[in-house]
C-alpha cells in the first residue's frame, strides 16, 4: 500500500460517499486521488460538494473495496429466490384478522 503511494505521485485512489441530507444513507459520488485520508476528505469536499450536495462525507481507499461482479450475480444472489418465506406475502392471513 505505502509503496504504491510513494511511487505514484498521483497518490492513492479513494472512493467518495456523500450523505445528501440527515437520516439517509451515504451514496457513492465518485473517486479521487490523495496521499492520505485527511487530504482525500478535503479534496472530496472541494470536488463533490461545491453546490451543497452533502452534509457528510466518507472516503474509503478503493483497494479495500471488495465487489461482486454482475456476471456471477445470478448464482451469487440465487439462494434468495427459493426462500419466498422470507417475504410477508408468503403467509395467508384469514379475512377479518387485523393489524398483521
Amino acid at each position: 500500500m505505502s509503496e504504491t503511494t510513494i511511487n505514484n505521485p498521483q497518490g492513492k485512489l479513494w472512493e467518495v460517499f456523500v450523505q445528501a441530507n440527515p437520516g439517509i444513507p451515504h451514496k457513492h459520488a465518485g473517486s479521487l486521488h490523495a496521499p492520505d485520508g485527511e487530504t482525500a476528505l478535503q479534496n472530496a469536499r472541494d470536488v463533490y460538494t461545491r453546490r451543497s450536495e452533502g452534509i457528510s462525507i466518507w472516503v474509503v481507499p478503493s483497494e479495500v473495496i471488495i465487489a461482486s461482479t454482475s456476471e456471477d450475480s445470478g448464482s451469487f444472489f440465487d439462494p434468495a429466490d427459493d426462500k419466498a418465506y422470507r417475504h410477508p406475502t408468503f403467509y395467508a392471513i384469514p379475512d377479518g384478522v387485523k393489524y398483521l
Partner: protein, 317 residues
C-alpha cells in the same frame, strides 16, 4: 463462457438499457474506445481551463472574477470526474496525462484557439459550453456506468457555464458600440470552431456503427450539430448579433437551419497540432504538472511519515 456468448450477453444488457459496470465483461474494443473517449474528454476539460484562466486577473468586475474562478474550478472538477471514470477501465491517471503531454492523446480542437478579448469569455461559455452540453447530454445516456454518471454531474454544472457566458454577451450586446463590436468579433471567431467541435461530419466519421450499437454514442455528430445550430441561432438573433455564415437559412419545411460549408481542412489541421495555440496549451499544461510534482511528492512523503508514526504509536500502546 465462450467469447461469442459473452459478447451476446453484453449486447443484450446494453439493448435492455442496462449500464455496463467496471467489473463486467466487455469487448476489448469497447474498453479501448471508452478509454480513448473519456480521456480525450478529461484532457479537454483541463486544457479548457487555460483560455479562461487567461482572463481571471482581467475580469472587468469582482462579480465576473468570482464567477470565472468558480467556472474554471468546475472545469478542474470535470476533469477529475472523467479521469476517475477512465481509471475504472484499468488505466492509471498518470499514464493518461503522459499520453496528453506526449501528443499521443488528443483533446478538443476548440481549446487551441486564443481568448483575445473579454467577449471571448462570454462566447466560450455561450457557444463552446453550449455545444459541449449538446454532446454531453447524449453521453449521459451512454452504456458505460461510470462515464454516464460523470456526465450527469457535469451536465448539471455546465448549465451555469452556459448561462454566465450568455449573460456576458447580453451585457456587451446592450453596451456601447465598441462593446457590441467586441461581442460580434468574438462571435465571428468562435462560431465555426464551436460548430466543428462536435466532430467530423457523419460522412467522414469512422467506426460509428459499432459505437452506436454499444451505446457509446447515441447520436451522430451531424445530428447533434444540427440541434446546436437550431438552438443557438435564435439566441444570437436575440443578442442582435449576426451569425458569421452568409449561407445560413431557415428551412420552413424541415424546421431546421441550413448552414454553409464547414472548413474541415481547418478542423483536421488544428487536431493535427497546427492550431493557433496547440503548442502553448501543451506547454502550459506540462509545466503546471511538472511544477506541481514536488508538492505531490511532499504530500505523499508526509502521508507516509504519518502512517509510520501512527503505527509506532499503536505498537507502544
Amino acid at each position: 463462457m465462450e467469447e461469442a456468448q459473452k459478447l451476446e450477453n453484453f449486447q443484450a444488457r446494453i439493448d435492455k438499457g442496462l449500464k455496463i459496470e467496471p467489473k463486467d465483461w466487455m469487448p476489448e474494443k469497447y474498453r479501448k474506445q471508452l478509454i480513448r473517449m473519456i480521456s480525450q474528454h478529461a484532457h479537454s476539460e483541463i486544457v479548457g481551463m487555460l483560455p479562461e484562466g487567461n482572463w481571471i486577473t482581467r475580469a472587468p468586475s469582482l462579480r465576473r472574477k468570482a464567477i470565472l474562478l468558480a467556472k474554471v474550478q468546475d472545469e478542474a472538477g470535470h476533469g477529475l470526474y472523467l479521469y476517475s471514470a477512465a481509471e475504472t477501465l484499468g488505466i492509471d491517471r498518470g499514464e493518461l496525462l503522459e499520453q496528453l503531454y506526449s501528443g499521443k492523446a488528443k483533446y478538443s480542437s476548440i481549446f487551441n484557439y486564443p481568448s483575445l478579448t473579454w467577449a471571448d469569455i462570454g462566447a466560450i461559455g455561450w457557444l463552446v459550453d453550449g455545444a459541449a452540453i449538446m454532446n454531453q447530454t447524449m453521453l449521459a445516456k451512454g452504456s458505460y456506468g461510470p462515464y454516464s454518471r460523470a456526465m450527469v454531474r457535469i451536465c448539471k454544472e455546465e448549465s451555469f457555464h452556459n448561462r454566465q457566458g450568455y449573460e456576458i454577451m447580453l451585457t456587451l450586446a446592450n453596451g456601447t458600440t465598441e462593446q457590441k463590436e467586441m461581442a460580434q468579433d468574438a462571435f465571428n471567431r468562435w462560431w465555426w470552431p464551436s460548430v466543428m467541435m462536435l466532430g467530423p461530419s457523419d460522412a467522414d466519421s469512422t467506426n460509428s456503427d459499432e459505437l452506436m450499437r454499444w451505446k457509446v454514442k447515441l447520436e451522430s455528430n451531424d445530428s447533434i450539430r444540427q440541434r446546436f445550430i437550431d438552438r443557438t441561432v435564435p439566441q444570437a438573433d436575440f443578442l442582435g448579433l449576426t451569425v458569421p455564415d452568409k449561407d445560413l437559412k431557415f428551412n420552413e419545411k424541415t424546421g431546421h437551419y441550413e448552414h454553409g460549408p464547414i472548413n474541415w481542412d481547418e478542423f483536421f489541421n488544428v487536431i493535427k497540432g497546427n492550431g493557433p495555440c496547440n503548442k502553448e496549451r501543451l506547454e502550459a499544461r506540462t509545466k503546471a504538472d511538472r511544477n506541481g510534482l514536488w508538492v505531490r511528492e511532499a504530500a505523499n512523503a508526509y502521508a507516509e511519515k504519518q502512517r509510520i508514526k501512527t503505527k509506532a504509536e499503536e505498537k507502544q500502546a
